[in-house]
């Protein structure tokens, strides 16, 4: 038994490795193949960012990327004659994407740490910020020493995270803090307000905005934490690094830099959303959903969620049908084939691993952060196929054995019996279950945000980060999910009843 288990694990590992290597080899140019020659620049430069860090990078009301970093780098590109392509990714996968050669620049308010310097080049400093501690009024947490033994919320992978985790001690020691890491600033602040954390450590510029919006919390800037912000450039690409530095100097000279600084950091920037506390609950709703047409995020989020769910169900059904027939055939022949073995292993692996990991592996490792929608459909299709194959297998096995015997006793082949007699009957067992799979997928696709797709959940989280409101945008998404799922369930119920009546 132990031996068998060991062997299976080995196969699993090999399979995953093979899959990854095959994916990389087929889909992508090898790392480092892409080196920029500034003089004869024809290719576009791909910039990675994470548009959830207003005012540095975020999306405006039309869903377009904007922010200080964005405008600054675009201005640099313009004076230097470079074409930029922006790729919105989770913050913690930016470094990985650069190492994989998928992006050449990171513009995401990154601090120049020694650790990072090992894998990337840094541009000159373009902004200097500082760290602040936010706490509830009266808590009196104002310096790093006060954080000892406290629960501290931070933005995952940010400079604050490094400081609080004790990895970066340049600005002072934080000892024995219990760190909670969040993907958005708004959820970190939410955690504080819900008493889930004693303090939030975050960039001063963000702390300022949140404390302005929210009563009951105050921030203190920590002296001596002034930190630089740089662009990261592919390791060893000195041509591009110099190009960026030169451009930065030019925009500082021509006044563009000051304009942008004024626009984003003076607190009067038109893109910095602000809640109007005076207007009460309805005013808040208007501010969250109607101002800057933010409801449109929800509309496009619903579209994306439903579209990806439908396509994934279709792909899953095709895969599931194939796998089910392969496995049933092997059972019938009472002998094991390699294909059936692989099919069984596939079902086993997919059902035994979290879908969010499957999605990230397929998007980052196989698709190398490209063709996000396709990667999502492939990933959820593969995931769904494993479940659907069991549904189809069950549906086929549930058809009376006498039907197969009748077909075969008339001299009909297995395939003919299957296609004309068994499958048409199995469809009645299978269709309702397929509908359920679709409904399940609508909820399961809420992890699409991990690969930067603006589905309904991500849209809500985005609106939350833009409005500095934590509760209402997320509840709104929940209500929308519920209504969609409920409507579909009712429709399915009707459909199922009609199928049954036709017997």
């Amino acid at each position: 038994m132990r031996l068998i288990i060991k062997k299976k694990r080995g196969i699993l590992f090999l399979l995953l490795t093979a899959l990854t290597i095959a994916g990389s080899a087929v889909l992508l140019p090898a790392d480092g193949m892409f080196t920029l020659n500034a003089a004869e620049q024809t290719k576009e430069i791909v910039v990675g960012t994470n548009a959830e860090y207003s005012p540095f990078e975020y999306r405006d009301s039309d869903g377009e990327l904007t922010g200080f970093d964005y405008d600054l780098l675009e201005a640099i590109a313009e004076v230097q004659g470079i074409e930029l392509v922006w790729n919105d990714l989770p913050f913690d996968s930016l470094m990985g994407s650069m190492e994989a050669g998928d992006i050449q620049i990171i513009a995401a308010a990154v601090g120049p740490t020694e650790e990072r310097e090992r894998s990337v080049n840094f541009s000159d400093v373009y902004y200097t910020g500082s760290q602040s501690i936010i706490c509830n009024e009266g808590a009196d947490i104002t310096e790093f020493a006060d954080l000892t033994g406290k629960t501290v919320a931070v933005l995952e992978g940010s400079m604050s995270d490094l400081i609080v985790s004790g990895e970066n001690t340049d600005y002072g020691m934080v000892e024995d803090a219990d760190v909670k890491r969040f993907k958005t600033a708004s959820s970190a602040v939410m955690e504080l307000m819900n008493q889930g954390a004693d303090a939030v450590v975050i960039d001063t510029i963000m702390a300022e905005i949140y404390c302005d919006q929210t009563t009951g919390i105050i921030y203190t800037e920590v002296p001596g934490t002034e930190e630089d912000t740089v662009f990261c450039i592919q390791k060893g690409n000195t041509v591009l690094t110099e190009l960026i530095n030169e451009g930065l100097a030019k925009v500082r000279e021509n006044g563009t830099y000051d304009e942008l600084y004024e626009k984003y950091f003076s607190g009067e920037g038109e893109d910095t959303a602000a809640a109007d506390e005076e207007q009460g609950f309805l005013g808040k709703l208007k501010f969250i959903f109607l101002d800057e047409n933010r409801w449109q995020y929800y509309v496009s989020g619903v579209e994306i969620t439903i579209l990806i769910s439908i396509l994934s169900t279709l792909v899953g059904t095709l895969i599931g049908l194939f796998v089910a027939i392969v496995r049933l055939r092997a059972d019938r022949m009472k002998r094991k084939s390699i294909v059936a073995g692989i099919a069984a292993l596939y079902v086993d692996i997919i059902r035994g691993t979290p879908s969010v990991l499957q999605l990230m592996i397929i998007y980052f490792a196989v698709f190398h952060s490209r063709l996000g929608y396709l990667a999502a459909v492939v990933s959820f299709g593969i995931n769904s196929g494993a479940y659907v194959s069991e549904v189809i297998r069950g549906g086929i096995l549930a058809v009376d054995k006498g039907q197969t015997e009748a077909g075969r006793s008339l001299g009909m082949s297995y395939t003919d019996t299957m296609s004309f007699v068994i499958l048409p009957q199995a469809v009645k067992n299978i269709l309702p279950a397929l509908g359920n799979e679709f409904v399940q997928l609508i909820k399961e696709t809420s992890i699409l945000g991990y690969v930067g797709i603006l589905d309904l959940t991500k849209a809500a989280s985005y609106v939350s980060s833009r409005t500095y409101q934590m509760f209402i945008p997320l509840v709104a998404a929940g209500v929308i999910y519920y209504v969609i799922v409920k409507l579909l369930t009712i429709l399915l119920g009707k459909f199922e009843r009609r199928l049954r009546d036709s017997d």
Partner: protein, 241 residues
């Protein structure tokens, strides 16, 4: 026409057929009787290879059908089977039930199959039900359609596996009537049944099977008139009271 030699079949540890040998001639109607669990149905299912025998031999028209090189589908189209539970295809009309195999297996044109289906339905008295779905038929009607479906392949022999056991008593007669007409028309038939009246009246020979062996193999008048074996007597006494 069918020669069966020392046929054996086990399911796991249970030896269902121990040693069955017999011969069925062309045009003969043979009834197989015996207590439940005696192996009658398994015997029948071995003949069209719905069960793969473990030992012995079956020869049909001089062909060894246990030869691994045999094309099973080609063989089966010559051997029709009628099941206890009818096994009509619920997803198609009565006529389509009958047409499916001739079209798919024999490759006959649709029109020809349709004409033939209607002719067969007339033969079993169900012409008016051609476009009905099976779930709208009574048990007796279903079984008559099942017989028509088997006949559509022009089989050399028809196997009946307790064709009237799942029927309400008032419907048994209509099915037996069709079977009797077939037997009189010279069809080779092997019928596993509990209908002693049919066995006595229609069959040419009756096999009494118990515990996986044939205990009696005689014309019905002899078997029912003066059964020799103790167990046959016991069985007949029970079933005929």
């Amino acid at each position: 026409m069918i020669k069966i030699r020392h046929l054996q079949k086990s399911f796991g540890q249970v030896r269902v057929l121990k040693d069955i040998s017999t011969e069925i001639r062309k045009g003969e109607c043979v009834c197989v009787i015996g207590p439940s669990g005696s192996g009658k149905s398994t015997f029948l299912r071995c003949i069209n290879l719905l069960e793969q025998p473990d030992g012995g031999g079956i020869e049909v028209d001089g062909r060894d059908i246990l030869d691994p090189g045999l094309k099973i589908d080609d063989y089966r189209k010559e051997v029709g089977m009628v099941f206890q539970h009818f096994n009509l295809f619920p997803n198609m009309t009565v006529k389509r039930n009958i047409m499916l195999a001739p079209m798919r297996v024999l490759g006959l044109p649709e029109e020809e199959c349709s004409g033939k289906a209607l002719k067969l339905l007339r033969q079993v008295g169900l012409e008016s039900k051609a476009d009905t779905y099976p779930n709208k038929l009574s048990g007796g009607q279903k079984q008559r359609v099942a017989i028509a479906r088997a006949l559509a392949m022009n089989p050399k022999v028809l196997l009946f596996d307790e064709p009237t056991s799942a029927l309400d008593p008032e419907m048994v007669g209509e099915v037996l009537h069709v079977m009797k007409e077939l037997a009189e028309g010279g069809m080779t038939m092997i019928v596993v049944t509990h209908e002693m009246g049919f066995a006595r009246e229609v069959s040419d020979r009756v096999l009494f099977i118990d515990h996986g062996v044939i205990l009696e193999d005689r014309p019905p008048r002899e078997l029912f008139g003066r059964p020799e074996n103790e167990r046959t007597k016991e069985f007949l006494a029970k079933i005929l009271t």
